[in-house]
Symmetry: C2
Subunit: 404 residues, 2 copies
Amino acid sequence: MDYEPLFSIPARGAARSVIREILKLTQRPEVISFAGGLPAPDTFPVDLLDDIMSKVLRDRGRTALQYGTTEGDVRLRSQIKLWVASDGIQVPVEQILVTSGSQQGLDLVSRVLIDPGDTVIVELPSYLGGLQAFRSCQANMVGVEQDEGGMRMDRLEEQLQSLRADSVRPKLIYVVPDFQNPSGTTMDLGRRQRLLELAAEHDTLIVEDTPYRQLRFAGEDQPTLFSLDSQDRVINLSTFSKLFCPGFRLAWAIAPPPVFEKMVMVKQSADLCTPAFNQAVMAEYMIQERLAPQVHAIKQLYRRKCETMLSSLARHMPDSVTWTHPQGGLFLWMVLPEPADSMVLLERYAIPRDVAFVIGKAFHFDGSGSNTLRLTFSFPTVEQIEEGIPRLADALREYLATIT
Amino acid sequence: MDYEPLFSIPARGAARSVIREILKLTQRPEVISFAGGLPAPDTFPVDLLDDIMSKVLRDRGRTALQYGTTEGDVRLRSQIKLWVASDGIQVPVEQILVTSGSQQGLDLVSRVLIDPGDTVIVELPSYLGGLQAFRSCQANMVGVEQDEGGMRMDRLEEQLQSLRADSVRPKLIYVVPDFQNPSGTTMDLGRRQRLLELAAEHDTLIVEDTPYRQLRFAGEDQPTLFSLDSQDRVINLSTFSKLFCPGFRLAWAIAPPPVFEKMVMVKQSADLCTPAFNQAVMAEYMIQERLAPQVHAIKQLYRRKCETMLSSLARHMPDSVTWTHPQGGLFLWMVLPEPADSMVLLERYAIPRDVAFVIGKAFHFDGSGSNTLRLTFSFPTVEQIEEGIPRLADALREYLATIT
């Protein structure tokens, strides 16, 4: 049976995530992995959850095990409303949609806004899951370079003008303004304001993805694009995966009412509803005010891990290599001297030394970035970071010696 | 801000599910609802789950709360393999994909196979969630009437020939062969074999949706289309929502390897993975051999409820009305004499009497079926059935008197 002619165009073009495939190569226990974007499992509230789940089953078991509404559990949405209000986002519950992970938020936004060939603007580099969601809707992607302060507004303006010259109105601009995945960069207030101005000038929407935002361990908070926006142009995506645990697949989207309404309809057809049980447990966890202390503890841990990685990099890496200095989140970004190729480094030098990372090319929709790579500091232990960075430095020195 | 020009074509066409909107109208506690397709909440294993969740947290908490693979937890997939083997389906774990509810299975299948304008064949009436998934991929739907034995094969053959005459190769034929939603009908062996022959003759795929299959409380099991198929033409979708509980959103898809592979890629972009915690709990539940006794208990209960509804209908309904006699599942189907319109019955006569159902038109993609309706017997109690059916019969008599 030949299935190929039966596949849809997006299915024919679909490729497995490079990250996920590499992760499989690095699952030997002896490998120190800076690859997967995983939170530290020792932060998961295992013991607390046992009590909270018992309480949920006791108090509301039959509701929590039944189908829920597509919009999400109203108790959880009320808690999210309070949670985001403390971050300067004032919205009614009616604009908060519970999603099955933030990846579903990206999928819903894409399906609501993108027809094949529609243009979306993404960062170079950008979050892989965002690129996958846009690609699955056959978007035409346009990239805007980053520097240490995130997406460059001069380049964005150039791209928008060039699109306008071709009579193309982009559907959305996709940004991760806080501790970006993969680069670790954060946009300052001036850049955020400029981004909103440009979106208004070109009458397009902004998808603001903020999975790491609450994990700031240095520097000053910047307001969300959503809270700065006075024109209802911003869709904000956020998640409990990095604040609580990923294994519950709970996230949320905040959108202007007309967009919210369409997202609900698409979600109905995508999975009917997010697990009611998981939502009930999360609501109880928040009602008991467990989330803020947990986030506080995670930040302390990630600060220590990030500092360990930065000082180990400073001690061991050759001068020709640069990296970002994130103020929060899970990741930092490394640039190798040209013409180094991080894929060669990974396959021939790093994996044989039992150390892994993700190649930067995976985060560039256009296949650029071959001399870049992403390092995760959240998942490995402090000891693994101290052992793994010198290994990586050795691998890199050996590789660089072959090409210079 | 005018969002309309920014919406995708499927989003512009998206409408909220009629069922879900009607459900909202009927949530007053005094309403006896035969509307929503909900399992009986008193069958949910609330007490058992408390112990099982504690065990999962204790034994494997950190893994269960972390990201999982897109394909699903291999312990759960191994249990599903055993479970379906006892139903005559022999497949390796590598062909079993865990999905976030069977609705996601429908969504993934649609996205893997359907480009805008592609033809899919559906039953008249058909499961609403299937229709929504196909519609969101802008499928061209072609309907085939049912009789008491499910989809009519003579009509299917005519439709396939007519499509062939127009040089159209349908991408798939969508059927719910066991205790169909909404009709409650089941296809016999001969019809199943004929369906496979026709699919082969017209070189198309079959999507076999079997959410209710295990809930047979009368008559003889029929083999699945998947197990009868020798040409790898069948994708089987099934779910724990009706066997365990819907609030965990756990289901699975079994597909030929090339289709499986594409479904995994689309799922990666749709939600990365189904909640690892929920999967770990379900695996433990199955390892402890709790599922078979639970399914047994559910069948006893639903038999009693179905028998109650059938005998109450026989006692109270006017002669001009007919209904199906399901051998399992959650639903039965009622046909009113023409020109009765079940929407008028619902809004003007039933809801004022505090009794609700779903109009049959909702299950007909082409807007036909206005004299039909669906009754759920799984969710209401036996007492509610005994009280609600006479109310419905009164409503109907009053309505019929106005139009005859």
